[in-house]
Amino acid sequence: MAPTANTGFNIQQIREDFPLLSREVRPGVPLTYLDSAATSQKPMVVIDAMNRYYQDMNANIHRGIHKLAEEATYAYEGARQRIADFIHAPSPEELIFTRNTTESINLVANSWGRTFLKPGDVILLTEMEHHSNLVPWQILANHLSLRLEFIPVTPQGLLDQDAFLTLLDQEPKLLALTHMSNVLGTINPLEDMLAKAKSAGAMTLVDGAQAVPHFPVDISTLKADFYAFSAHKMVGPTGIGILYGRRELLEEMPPFLGGGEMIKRVELRSFKTNDLPHKFEAGTPAIAEAVGFGAAVDYLSQIGMAEVEKQERILAGYALESLSGIPNLHVLGPGIEERGGVVSFYIDGIHAHDVAQILDSEGIAVRAGHHCAQPLHTKFNLPATSRASLYLYNTPEEIDRLVEGIHKTKSIFA
């Protein structure tokens, strides 16, 4: 049965805001886009904002004295301010523009990690991390002879909180974990975990790539030391992301990349770093993308993140209910109370790629593979899963189409 509609949420209007959603995948086959955890679609206001930037004010920022440079700088820094407001960060100087979540985490590993960690130090991660919050620490651990420890994932797809407390006895220097799993959909109890890590003397880094797009995130109450996320998963453009860092930490850290903009003064054999946030933004940044990112948070703010969360919860509940009724289909991860709108599943005897291929013939876009979380799949002894991921523009009818597509897949392999 279709779920109760979220009144006050004009889904038809929202769908019209995203031009790509009305395209046909092939003649006569409408698009059912269920891959927003990989990247979201973009509303016209974001595309327009970037076009307008190039048409009306394109110039390099900060250095120029002329009118265009001033307008471009204003647009770029204005976007930073609005993104800071969106996550309730104390000040925009604590937001570094990066390429994406991955680069944000690499920045911390290379700058903070190489400066403040010593051989034998422990970094505490979890078994549900995306490769972006795993491989940078593996590289660093190899370089500095660090020890990596992992909070186990329970069969239900939750972090084992007892094991976490025991691991804190090893006095990790850093806890780095995801806010929401991109495979299991699990939303981790961050406030509690970060507070415990802090009491144990650890710094904290959060991979918020799947969180900031989908529910209200308040940096000021979470009290993470570092928080990373990407624009392209939250109706913004590719190529730009954010690293939030606590000011005292960012001040102490050496620069990540060297070049223009990140310096205050340069001599032949030395340089003096620029103030925050410019110290970490070497070279000409993705200016149009920053402008688009600003338009994206404006768009989401206008709808309201609490509304987005509510809508997705209704849809995710419906998806879980619909899929769990299909014989020989297994959904990964916890129940609706502890998860977001990411639903990974597998069907006995049918490889995830074949599922995705047959769904594609019906115009349904899902992801198949290990979703950049190979150790998690290894743990659950799965070569690959199919993943349907939801966003504010999805509808119950699209879930119904997914279910029909799965039935078709099963009949082909019957």
Partner: protein, 129 residues
């Protein structure tokens, strides 16, 4: 799409004719398709002239990769390794009887990649001998 999952592919996926391992063998090689987790191992026995007498595959993955492996292994029995070295993408697609886009092509071609790596590995050994 119906072509994609034509009967032959589903049939070979569900009941492969050449699934197994050979021990001892003249060469064995395995590899993964990291994007999707397909895994293929191919074990081969040769006679003294370099003709394949027995060949089998093992591993797991999508219907395309597994059916492609089964059909490839079938096609090389009785062939000389020099003939096998000359096999290409078209031969694999002919076996399967379908056209594939760039992503699924990797699934279909993994068995051939494994087989060739095995043969060239064998060449190295011979060179060392």
């Amino acid at each position: 799409m119906e072509d994609f999952y034509r009967e032959l592919i589903i049939e070979r996926y569900k009941t492969p004719h050449y699934r197994g391992v050979l021990d001892p063998n003249d060469f064995s090689y395995e590899d993964d398709n990291p994007a999707c987790g397909d895994h293929i191992q191919i074990d081969v026995r040769l006679d003294e002239t370099g003709v394949v007498t027995e060949a089998v595959f093992s591993g797991e993955g999508c219907a395309i990769s597994q059916a492609s492996a089964d059909l490839l292994v079938e096609s090389i029995i009785g062939k000389h390794i020099d003939e096998i070295k000359a096999l290409g993408k078209e031969d694999v697609l002919d076996n399967l009887g379908i056209e594939l886009g760039p992503v699924r092509l990797k699934c279909a071609l993994l068995p051939l990649k494994v087989l060739k790596a095995g043969i060239y590995g064998l060449g190295d050994q011979e060179a060392e001998d």
